[in-house]
Subunit: 123 residues, 2 copies
DNA sequence: ACTATTGTATTAAGTGCTTAATACAATAGT
DNA sequence: ACTATTGTATTAAGCACTTAATACAATAGT
């Protein structure tokens, strides 16, 4: 796994994001065993407690689960993963729309704007 | 002005956002004189220093300017306002796209998703 | 020239949050 | 049964940041 931690925001938040992205985007596969807390921490260059915190919080989404001494695993329930992916997308989109409205864009304008930018990116 | 401050995030940030939104969305008009720091603070129910901080930071965007004792004014330069509005939109959109990509959405998916949600909102 | 009103500077207290050191607990594997 | 390895709990230090009290500075208006 390719870790990418900066000091702009709390480390544990970035860990959560990156692990979750790894699962939801398919980098980790359902049922995979994760390396141990200490290994992951070493790999990412963070304190084990910090990694532990990230993983513990992730568990609340049921994306991963723990067997006390045999380690942590990605859920095998593809439904959960898909559901969370949709949910995440929804939250991101709603937040995005709210922000755009706050600076005075109507719904039509938003669609137009983003279409334009996405087109530009394709070039 | 209708202030809406919660304790989730720093007060001064929320003030910046709301004032900026007020300008960019057309609630405040170019050239308008703003109430004094102390008045605004009282109105919003915050400490004057906090309002001062928000206004001072806003000045860096050139949306408002100060005449030491006669008060603060919204810029009369409509260009600046429009430019900032576009810039803000761009930042919001780019950030949005990045987030969506991080959870595994391609550009096409993004457009599809948001189109769908916007359509739902219209109903 | 005076004074009220405006913006500004300084600084200290409070606060919440992150991180890290360390110790504890459970169990798979031998 | 032992031991190495796993996850977990506790707690304290550090840190950065926000907020607020207070004092200072400039000038428009009289």
């Amino acid at each position: 796994m390719q870790w990418n931690i900066d000091s702009e925001r709390p480390v544990y938040i970035q860990l959560i994001e990156q692990i979750q992205a790894g699962i939801v985007s398919g980098y980790f596969n359902p049922g995979d065993k994760l390396p141990s807390v200490r290994e992951l921490a070493a790999e990412a260059g963070v304190n084990p407690n910090t990694m532990q915190r990230a993983l513990a919080e992730l568990e609340q989404t049921e994306l991963v689960y723990t067997n006390r001494t045999s380690g942590r695993f990605i859920t095998s329930d593809i439904g959960i993963i898909k559901k969370l992916k949709k949910q995440s997308a929804n939250n991101i989109i709603v937040e995005f729309i709210e922000k755009m409205k706050q600076i005075g864009y109507q719904e039509d304008d938003i669609l137009e704007c983003i279409t334009k930018i996405l087109e530009e990116m394709r070039k």
